[in-house]
Symmetry: D2
Subunit: 265 residues, 4 copies
């Protein structure tokens, strides 16, 4: 399990989401309350958009709470769109390349969840990554593979459809050669303009995910657990849904890779 | 390019090969004389055999010369069979999982050289790794892939034939989809009982490789560059040959993946 | 707070104490039960004695549970006398030089506890380190300073008296310029022949410390928390006592720096 | 020896100084031409000023050329005043706290050079650091000590005088208890508004230091070695001088700690 937080809106210092709130992402890295593992100390990462098309990417295997570089970075850098993640490994080694978010071109992606029994069909999963994107395969996580498959499925043209097809392929492999629960997913992705998030599980037990608009910041946070425990306004994202966040707007459409997966399997 | 050193014989402190000699492996990590890159500071690693069947494995991305843990380890640990490597990356990221040696079960492997144009056919190369060994694919190097393919080809039963077939497959892919020089190889591998080394290049320009028996140590060093520049007795390993070192014995047989590769391409 | 484990007896693989037991040191690094912090993930270290007079020293800032190098090392290395520690920082930065154990010559030392209000008199504390040992001051912890002061007080000649005087000096400084609780201490130290341990607190609330002889291993473990929760034979070390472990023998004498401290303050 | 680069002017991406030029700081980290060590791979660091009074600080022990985090950071972050440094250790361990620049409050500082025989009088040197600044002593370098002593001497009120007095004290200690050359210094420091640089050596052999105004960037670079070898306009900073850079202005005054040092010794 992992925890993550994303933001879209007026540019703010990264630490306003990552470390300052009472139950910030850093706090969740050692005291998460809504997942199996209270501790998410197997690495952290952040991707933030600024003047360039491609995001900046900062990842390390240290526990988030003890990295002075992260502290400094988040206190200094401002961004109107960023993704941040703290990792609890589901098996793969601790290595910078296995930390989220992943970035290819102007796309960034992070994931909390699992693809059931992945180790048994890992090779088949990686074979789904087309040649064009294979050079971007740097680690060994299921999450990075899912992202690269989604890119191959046309993330650029239609993010929702591409993610759906990618998830369907992974879920099909899991049903065929893996183990249940086949796919549990909360993920966030961005092209630098919009922020997307998905909440889905083949067994309807998707990890937690919330969002909240802040008038003072003029921006929206999308997070695994509410950043302030005593604060209202946190809405849960619906399961089986693909969300698009742009400016203050929120839209969602049904997300159903399961049907595709069962057809394929 | 990289540099490496292996040893088989009476148990000695690791530092007798790794750091103490005048042109030790550590010295070669910042002052190599017989390869393109004087500096090999993109990581180091060592695999050593002791009481267990599997070797110990210690790898890190720090330059070898500045790691106090390595210094301590090599001063304390004794072994009669070990492999050590300092890395200069040919493209792949610096990460512990991309450092040599690699170890699977009781086998260990390290490599200096390149598979020409690997990035262009990386996916096909990884597809050669059988399911049984795929879970051991942790990084993204061509070296690790070559090792896992060799294991799949039956390293256990016939090391020379397996390495030859694995190299042939890689060379064939390079001829088909990569770039010249197609395969340059000096590698060392061990099952904990014997030490094997190969020196081969598709263009006959294999990296340097020497060996020398030491009566005082009662053991043999096999190294990229002689450990002492003023010392005699260093013999160059022949190109296109597969060597077996056991006790004091040295045997070699021709190694010719090229023929197999050209047949396959 | 931190957790530690030491061993003296017949040579065993380090992992028999560090990772294999049900409530091993590694387990205590993320699930400690008898201290404030369940998580001790701000670094780990081990010092082990072998053929050389000086111990080997391996320390890193990674959480202990996720370091494959540590896993390998402890599975391969055997020793009849070693110290291992997992750290929860009481303020000082995470850095290899701030990890325990510390080693100078053939002496090694590790500590769990605190010197109250240390940051307020840190300079005075460091000024207690004599010139001879000052070059060994590499980090900024109170523990390292305490060790160097003890060396200066004649650890070589009389470990108990030296530790007592060193603790008295630190406690006096804390009473003068620091804050309560002035000194809480469980520490272990060794010269490669004997293992020593101290349990003391100026307010009689010393951290937990136990020991147990194992007939099967023919050795004794001295640990912050019992290695197996269902296992009998674990004896608590008395507070205000300095223990000497040699072979199977255990002796203890009163340890009373407080009197010295109050005289000095 | 080390190499460093600083910049003051219109905000630019950090990589325009740190990595993009032909002989950028990153290039100098493995191919320096005007110092003893071609390789400066014992760590790097950067301090940059943005919206906050305190600078951001990013330091790591990895060779600069292989850190993807640094690459990302410098491609994304813009600043009108920053310091960057690559380190070749003169003895002290590789550790983030021993990397330059150092930062206290809004001040940042980096150094290339040495204080002769420092290890012999390190304790006396640290004793010069006043209580107020002692908590900021995190590592063990002579550079960090020099900076803290300078802060204590009133860097805030009169940077030139404070640096001069601090250097005089260190030089005096070296003359008394150290070894020649007693003090070689090129350093840069900033309070977030102005950039200061010093070039001085007790034996008149100060390390190299240049500066150049760029009309296209509308900013000035101050560097150990010119960023482009074929580029004109690089002026050498005079020895025994304290420079102030503000906007486009450059002023310098004599810097003579030696007289003070010899008086004190």
């Amino acid at each position: 399990m992992c925890r993550w937080a994303a933001y879209i809106g007026q540019a703010i210092f990264l630490d306003e989401i990552i470390s300052r709130p009472g139950h910030s992402l850093i706090h969740q890295s050692h005291c998460a309350t809504q997942c199996h593992t209270a501790i998410n100390a197997d690495g952290f990462g952040l991707a933030w958009y600024g003047e360039r098309a491609e995001p900046g990417l900062y990842r390390d295997v240290m526990p988030a709470w003890s990295d002075p570089n992260l502290k400094s970075l988040t206190a200094q850098v401002k961004s109107g769109l960023f993704l941040a993640h703290v990792r609890a490994s589901t098996g793969t080694a601790t290595s910078r390349n296995n930390c989220h978010p992943f970035a290819v071109g102007r796309w960034s992606f992070m994931h909390n969840g699992q693809i059931g029994g992945y180790e048994a069909f890992r090779r088949d999963a990686e074979m789904l990554i087309p040649d064009t994107y294979y050079p971007h395969r740097k680690g060994a996580t299921d999450s990075e593979a899912l992202f690269l498959v989604a890119l191959g499925e046309g993330l650029e043209a239609d993010p929702k459809a591409a993610m759906e097809r990618a998830c369907a392929k992974m879920e099909a492999l899991s049903r065929l050669r893996g183990a249940g629960p086949h796919l549990r997913l909360t993920c966030a992705l961005s092209d630098g303009t919009r922020l997307y998030a998905v909440r889905y599980a083949s067994d309807n037990q998707a990890p937690s995910l919330y969002h909240r608009w802040s008038d003072s910041r003029r921006g929206r946070a999308v997070v695994s657990e509410p950043l302030e425990t005593e604060e209202g306004g946190w809405e849960e994202l619906a399961q089986n849904a693909f969300y698009t966040f742009e400016g203050k707007k929120v839209t969602s459409v049904p997300f159903a890779p399961g049907a595709l997966a069962q057809a394929a399997a």
